[in-house]
Each structure stands twice: as C-alpha cells, then as structure tokens.
Symmetry: C2
Subunit: 178 residues, 2 copies
Amino acid sequence: MREADRPLVVNRIVQAGLELLEEDGIHAITQTQVAKRCGIRQSHLTYYFPKATDLLLAVFSASHAKALPLDSAVHDPIGVLRAVMFDPTRMRFFLKIVAELPDDPDIRSTVADHAHTWAHTLGPFFGRTSSDPDLLIFVDMVRGRAIRHILRTEGQAPSKAELLALAARLSLRPVNRG
Amino acid sequence: MREADRPLVVNRIVQAGLELLEEDGIHAITQTQVAKRCGIRQSHLTYYFPKATDLLLAVFSASHAKALPLDSAVHDPIGVLRAVMFDPTRMRFFLKIVAELPDDPDIRSTVADHAHTWAHTLGPFFGRTSSDPDLLIFVDMVRGRAIRHILRTEGQAPSKAELLALAARLSLRPVNRG
DNA sequence: ATTGCATTTGGTACTTTACCAAGTTCTGTT
DNA sequence: AACAGAACTTGGTAAAGTACCAAATGCAAT
C-alpha cells in the first residue's frame, strides 16, 4: 500500500505514534495510547495493524523517513548519520524492533533495507559504490558505537570528526565533490 | 548481594529464567511464566525483582556468565566472541535489555560493564592493554555486524577468520603466546 | 515469649494485545 | 434509486502480564 493510497486514518495513526514517540518514548507506542490519541477504538487499530509489531514498524519507518530529508542527507551524510544513530530514543526504538522482530522474512527485510539505505547515502560521500562492503562495516561500527553511547549517557556522542576518524580506520575518506 | 549469599529461591528463579530463555526465547521470561516454572507466586517474584527489568537483567547476567567459561574464553576469545555475539537469541536478549533499560545509572553500568568484559578478554589476545580504545571499537564493530546478522538470517555468521580480518582492519593482530 | 525481620501468600487494579460478532459507511453496478 | 459487496468501525471479551498491598508465616536474636 503506497503512502498516498493509505486511508487517512492510517496516516493519523502513524502521526499519533510519532508524537507519542517524541513525547514519551518507545513505551508510549501501544495500541491503547495511540488509539486514544487519534480518537479511534483500540480494536480498530488491530484492523490496520494486526500485530503490535506492525504498528511499531510503521512508526519506525515514518520516523526514519522523517529523519532523512534527502537534501540534507546528501549534503551532510555524516551529520545525519550522527544525528540519527546517537539519538538515544531513536536508537532504542531500532534496537527494540530488531530484538522483537518476528521471524517473518518480509518484515525483517523491511528493517534490513533501512540499514542498506545508509550505504546508498554514504557511498557517494566516500567515493564508493553503494554495494561496497566497507560501507556496511562502517555502519556496523557506528551502530555498535551508538549502543555503547546509550549505555554511558554521561559522555558526549562522538563528533563528526571522530566519526570520520573511525571511517578512516577502514580507509574510507570523503572525496572532494565540486 | 553476592551470588553465594542469595536466598536459594533467587537461584531457582534465575535458573528457571535461563531454561525458559533457552527453550522459548526472550518473550518467555515473564514473571508469570518464571513463577510457574519454579513453583512460586508471581507476586513473590516482584519481591525479589521489583521491576520486570530487574528479572531480565538477572537472567541476562547469568546467561552471560554461563557463556564465558573463563578457560575457554582465554584460550579462544574470538571463538567465544563469535559464539556469544552471533547467537541470535542471546543477541536479541542483549538488545532488548539495552532498548528497555531504565534510566537508573546503576543498572546501565551493570550492562556496560559486561561490555567492558570483552576488552579484558581480548586485550591479552591482541597484545593490548584492556583499556585500549581499539578493543572497544572492535567490539562495537562485531556487535554492529551481529545486528546485521539478525536481520539477514539466511547468511552464515562470519567465521573466526573473518572476525580476525575485521580486527586486522583496526590493526589488531593476535600475538603469539607460548 | 516476644519482638523484629525476611519471606510468602492471596488478592486486586490496571495495562496491553488479539480476537470476534455485529453494525455502519462507502463503492460500483444495474 | 436500489442493491450487493467490500471496507471500515464499534463494542465486547479473554488471556497474559505488571505492580501494588495487606495479611500470614517462618525464623532468629533478645
């Protein structure tokens, strides 16, 4: 179902989920609370999102899309990567979804595709093709680093310069784009 | 409370949690099911583990300890790392805990310490001090890679050789120990 | 014996999810 | 317009789970 074809109520549902996510965190994204916020019945929510995970996934997708405005991602991919990966709420959300992911391969590849989006965004920046495995390793590295960040919130998130230094460890260096 | 000082019930509780984890996965670790398995009341469980996360954390700790029998970890740290990180059940468990971690700094540092355990295990193997930041980066990298593994279960987990190759990207090379 | 503490029970209020059966609204067709 | 069928919406419910609380029990030191 393309976004444009979706019933309005689905958009309202996802929007409510986004708001709850930003205001109260992951735990607020429940059928009960989302339904209350957009004025429909909880049972109606399971009509569009039969499993609780389906709703989570939809909100996650929307959140991801919102965080990746294409122009800024192209202009400053490291900045966007940093903003998305080291936002604890967003990262926790991602981890929760990965942790609870049902075995359905469709659902899994939906999330996996989001991961590959990074390779497409970073490829041109580092002068690599988006299938370059080093890009995936770099993303792995940053994700792992972000988890460490969640565990030790006292410290600052790595700066863009530090992230570039990490990339350099894998011989990934920004190319001059003019 | 040291493990030795713990009431026997607590050991039984954690043990039941471990069994459920291995048999039915993360979702089985609930007060209700654990209580049923070790023949106590659910309300009694909240006496020892006031929050549901506390129980999760205890089972996670036990599971981690069980997976790191010291001798084999020293003898073959990469093998142990591989076994622990690329076991989907275990990794999901870890991610779930990180995702749901309450803000209590004590609890967070408990989990963070488990991460640092890896640095201590890997340090001698790579001829580095356990505070060497490269070790942490390597662990980050492997963790990130493991997440990717969860998302694409078709593929095999990286072999030990591949993990060593990853380490080499960070100039981490095993030292000869004789 | 009694006091104080840890343990254990039983009960309850609340939240969340996944159903279902029954309505209602919308749509295209005749 | 009238109809049939699909899409949508409601209300209700059963099951599982969490976090409380008040009361009972056991146990140890005074």
